[in-house]
């Protein structure tokens, strides 16, 4: 969209801006402790998914310690925002938990590469002060709760899969994301696969029309609301639940077992999918086969422009991604993410060659 209003004013302020930049550049008024490097620092801005944010913020910090001249500023605005802003070119790279649709890719002004960085899961986290055991859920039960059909914690449907647990007589407060989000995508993608009612009434997307519940902004916001509200249930990435001491339930997988999210159970989910991953890496791995698989698992992707104008930024970003896919993977488990299978990493490194760096 091009708008040419107030050209004189705009031009003047822009000129002013350029002038100020020039002045501040000359005076070298940079507060950071830069080593006297031969190259000027590279600043890269990215935005998108909140799902991998704990890991990404760790990665960017660690990478900056190793390469003080590369500073990657990542803002967790949500996957929808990641897609939109990278398409607009307002950020250099995006990040999303739900792959872009074919139409979105077609509408993109330049080719975008989807690169899985890590495997994550989404867990049903709840706040029930009375219950100390880990609760069990089935897919259809979670769908019914989020459809507003099951409204109290001592509902028979919940009791049926949690024998021996004294369920309190409390209202269920559903907490969901208020913003567009890949975490939402993974969650509703799973619910749609296991519940025809969900698929018909709500559907799949990065933000959906929630039948019930209250909205929190970001994984952060949802975790905050669940933590503050007795009787709440929300979906989030397990790192957010663990770091806040919010318990989360086990979910019945396609093989009929109740499995809780763990590094191993999520890797088990990805194992089955590894063979069926397409060349563009856009694939859903929710509700996979396998006894040990946790059913609500997903890749999370970086969206990288294949033909960017600024090759310095591009080269620095590609170097970072290479590091993240190899050495960086070891930071994943401690933050609750499962590392990528080696075969996937290999294919990604090959795909990375497509990005213009000079």
């Amino acid at each position: 969209m091009q708008i040419d209003i107030l050209p004189r004013w705009l031009r003047r302020t822009m000129a002013l801006g350029v002038l100020t930049v020039a002045v501040s550049g000359c005076s070298g008024a940079d507060g950071a402790a830069e080593p006297a490097a031969d190259a000027a620092p590279v600043d890269i801005t990215g935005a998108g998914a909140t799902f991998p944010y704990p890991l990404y913020s760790r990665w960017f910090e660690e990478y900056n310690r190793r390469h003080p001249d590369v500073r990657i500023n990542y803002q967790a605005i949500g996957s929808g925002g990641g897609i939109r802003q990278v398409q607009n070119g307002t950020v250099f790279f995006g990040a999303t938990d739900g792959p872009m649709t074919d139409e979105q890719l077609a509408a993109s002004p330049e080719p975008l590469l989807h690169l899985p960085t890590v495997i994550g899961s989404v867990v049903p986290a709840y706040n029930l002060p009375e219950v100390t055991e880990r609760l069990n859920f089935t897919g259809p039960l979670l769908a019914d709760i989020f459809l507003g059909r099951v409204t109290r914690w001592n509902d028979r449907a919940i009791a049926a899969v949690n024998p021996g647990v004294a369920l309190p007589d409390r209202d269920i407060t559903v907490v969901h994301r208020s913003d567009g989000s890949g975490t939402t995508f993974v969650w509703v993608d799973y619910l749609s696969k296991v519940s025809p009612a969900w698929k018909e009434q709500v559907g799949v997307g990065t933000s959906v029309k929630w039948p019930v519940g209250i909205g929190g902004k970001g994984n952060d916001g949802v975790a905050g609301l669940v933590k503050q509200t007795a009787g709440a249930i929300g979906y989030m990435e397990p790192a957010y639940a663990r770091q806040n001491g919010i318990p989360f339930g086990a979910v019945q997988n396609a093989a009929g077992r109740f499995v809780a999210s763990s590094i191993e159970s999520v890797t088990a989910a990805a194992d089955g999918a590894a063979a069926t991953i397409p060349d563009d890496f856009r694939v859903s791995i929710t509700n996979p086969p396998g006894d040990a698989a946790y059913p609500i698992a997903s890749f999370t992707w970086l969206l990288i422009r294949e033909r960017p104008d600024d090759v310095r930024q591009s080269a620095a970003l590609v170097e970072f991604v290479r590091w993240a896919l190899t050495e960086g993977q070891r930071f994943a488990p401690e933050l609750g993410y499962s590392p990528l299978p080696a075969s996937v990493v290999e294919r990604e490194l090959a795909a990375l060659e497509r990005v213009r760096v000079r």
Binding site: M1, Q2, I3, I5, L6, L10, T13, M14, L16, G17, T20, V21, S24, G25, A29, D30, G31, A32, D43, T45, A47, Y53, P54, S57, R58, F60, E61, N64, R71, N73, Y74, Q75, N88, G89, T90, V91, G216, K217, G218, D220, G221, A223, G224, K227, A239, Y240, Q243, N244, I246, L335
Partner: protein
């Protein structure tokens, strides 16, 4: 007389109610200042001013970059808004017969009431999308747009306060209108205008909504106007809605610093106003 008694009783009750309403307003003020002071003071340290934010799960870190960011954003906003605001205020006073004068006054009042989030959308459309990125410059423009009406109206009011004799004296000595205003009237009003600018800065320094899609936030030190930049308000927002106790503490500390900055600025302006008033008397 019972009727008289009733009237007096009603009067006493209503008078007490009016006193009570002052209390009703002061209780939340007291609670708010109390919580910010206590929680903020407990969390603040030297690191808070010198460090950048740490990744999730690593304790410590600070908002040094965001404090600098807020100052840069305010400075940019002032560079844009002060010339436009002062000159347009001058126009309203000097050319009252022009049909543009009431239009400027109306526009300034309207602009003053435009919700800050709407200013954010507007600046996103004119300064983020066309230039291809979020930037400190865009954030400064957004805050500048919010400052302009405040400065226009302050300038107008203060120029009117300058005694007509000053201007007429200058004109009688053969000065042109422009010369008279710029060399005699404006300097007389200048201290007041500076005060007004400080009050306007205090107001925009506390703004969050117009920065969400313009300045965007940055976890690193940055002084580059073409790059996204951190701001105290953005950082407090991000930390406040997070679920980490450590980040909540940082948010309170950030709120304390922000409040000190904003209140300090407006208190200084207020003190200056009082001195000016005394001088004029």
């Amino acid at each position: 007389m019972p009727r008289d008694l009733r009237r007096r009783l009603v009067s006493t009750v209503m008078t007490s109610l009016s006193a009570l309403s002052v209390l009703v307003a002061l209780v939340p003020l007291g609670l708010l200042l109390f919580f910010v002071a206590v929680q903020g003071a407990a969390a603040i340290s030297l690191d808070f001013f010198t460090q950048t934010p740490r990744p999730v799960g690593e304790p410590g870190g600070g908002m040094g970059n965001a404090i600098v960011g807020t100052l840069i954003l305010c400075g940019t906003a002032a560079l844009i808004a002060v010339p436009i605001g002062v000159l347009s205020g001058m126009f309203v006073v000097e050319f009252p017969q022009s049909p543009l004068a009431p239009a400027v006054r109306f526009a300034a009042d309207t602009l003053n009431g435009v919700p800050s989030i709407v200013v954010g959308i507007f600046v996103y459309a004119i300064a983020v999308e066309p230039t291809g990125g979020f930037s400190a410059m865009a954030g400064g423009i957004a805050l500048g747009v919010m400052m302009i009406p405040l400065i226009t109206r302050t300038t107008e009011e203060l120029l009117r306060l300058v005694p007509a004799s000053l201007r007429e004296g200058a004109l009688a000595l053969g000065a042109t209108r422009g010369r008279a205003v710029l060399t005699v009237v404006l300097p007389a009003a200048l201290p007041g205008i500076v005060t007004g600018v400080m009050l306007a800065l205090a107001r925009v320094a506390g703004e969050t909504a117009p920065l969400l899609f313009t300045a965007f936030g940055n976890r690193f030190w940055s002084t580059d106007l073409t790059e996204p930049i951190g701001a105290l308000t953005l950082q407090v927002y991000a930390y406040a809605i997070s679920p980490y106790d450590d980040w909540h503490r940082q948010a309170w500390a950030g709120a304390l610093v922000l409040l000190a900055l904003v209140l300090g600025c407006s208190l200084a302006a207020r003190a200056a106003t009082r001195r000016l008033e005394r001088m004029h008397r």
